[in-house]
Assembly symmetry: C2
Homo-oligomer: 179 residues x 2
DNA sequence: TGGCTTTACTTGCATCTGCAACAAACTCTA
DNA sequence: TAGAGTTTGTTGCAGATGCAAGTAAAGCCA
């Protein structure tokens, strides 16, 4: 099994892997540059606005937002700080649970997003979808969707495993103490 | 044509786009964390070593290396600085053209890469290829390969266009002066 | 050859980002 | 209901990275 897991990538796999890395990096870099130049928004900032705009009441908990944009909690805190300074979002404490903070899209944020949307859409079409057939599109959605889901599941499993490990340590300590 | 270019993403396209962003981000984040924890190497550092190891004489010009790992020139300079401090690569000036710098893999760098390879390979299989069929693999290679190539071509075209624009400006200035 | 343009890299500076430590608030239990 | 343990966000700090400016070396042309 270990042998299987460590089988080197064959040519097709290597091609897919390198294409993913390079294709993704180049497209994102171009999109980011265009969005920054034309709209003064970074890509993560744009994504925050998009996710908020699609959420009920145009608001999301910080932790949900961090999951959506794939940013660390601290990274998201600072990004929301910045967007709040620019007036594009604001923070609301949750009344039921004072630990929770909601990021809320402001009218200015909505307007800024609406203004940036055409730039982003054009870039995504031009740099990405114009080079893909519908079939390829379908495959990418399925394949990378599966990867994403598995990664989420693995993440949850890793957290659980960590808890078990800690429990194990504690149990071990207890046993040592008891002996 | 503009209408066509600004047609909103349909459901399938949206699915592909989000899957690409999230799938890529999550996988890379996990790979980076594992490589860092087990081997003390960042992902870009690992990629630099890989590309050098595959190059003739295990060396590449800084600019070629930057293209390969999709990093800005300054970013690559600093990354090579760091790797050189650790003794994994060294710099050689080109004798024929003193502007050019080659990054060369050292024996230590080769050894470090060999040590890190199993960790990376296992991660790539576990987090990515284990969730893909051979057919999906093939499609990803083709589709994102096309995107990557187009992006390269567009980049070259953009540089050319920029030159033209500058030429145009100069011509305009000249005309203005002459009038 | 002298000077102007271009190329290849390197730095200054500002920003972004993540990890670890921290603070605050909630939950569960005795 | 006091206290231990969790969860949720926020900072301190260090490292990474890009843009613009700077430096050095070629190339080109009169």
């Amino acid at each position: 099994m270990a042998d299987q897991a460590l089988r080197p990538l064959d040519e097709r796999e290597m091609g897919a892997w390198r294409a993913l890395i390079r294709g993704h990096n180049r497209v994102m870099r171009r999109l980011e540059a265009e969005l920054e130049a034309e709209q003064g928004l970074s890509l993560p900032a744009y994504e925050v606005l998009v996710h908020l705009s699609e959420a009920p009441d145009e608001r999301l908990r910080m932790s949900e937002l961090a999951m959506n944009v794939v940013l660390s909690p601290s990274g998201l805190t600072r990004l929301v700080d910045k967007l709040a300074r620019e007036g594009l979002v604001c923070r609301h404490r949750c009344e039921a649970d004072a630990r929770v903070v909601y990021a809320v899209l402001t009218p200015e944020g909505r307007a800024r997003l609406d203004a940036a949307y055409p730039t982003h859409l054009r870039g995504v079409r031009e740099h990405f979808f114009d080079h893909l057939s519908g079939e390829q599109c379908e495959f990418i959605a399925q394949a990378l969707g599966a990867v994403d889901n598995a990664s989420n599941a693995a993440c949850a499993a890793a957290v659980a495993a960590e808890c078990d490990a800690v429990d194990g340590e504690l149990a071990g300590d207890f046993a040592a103490d008891a002996s």
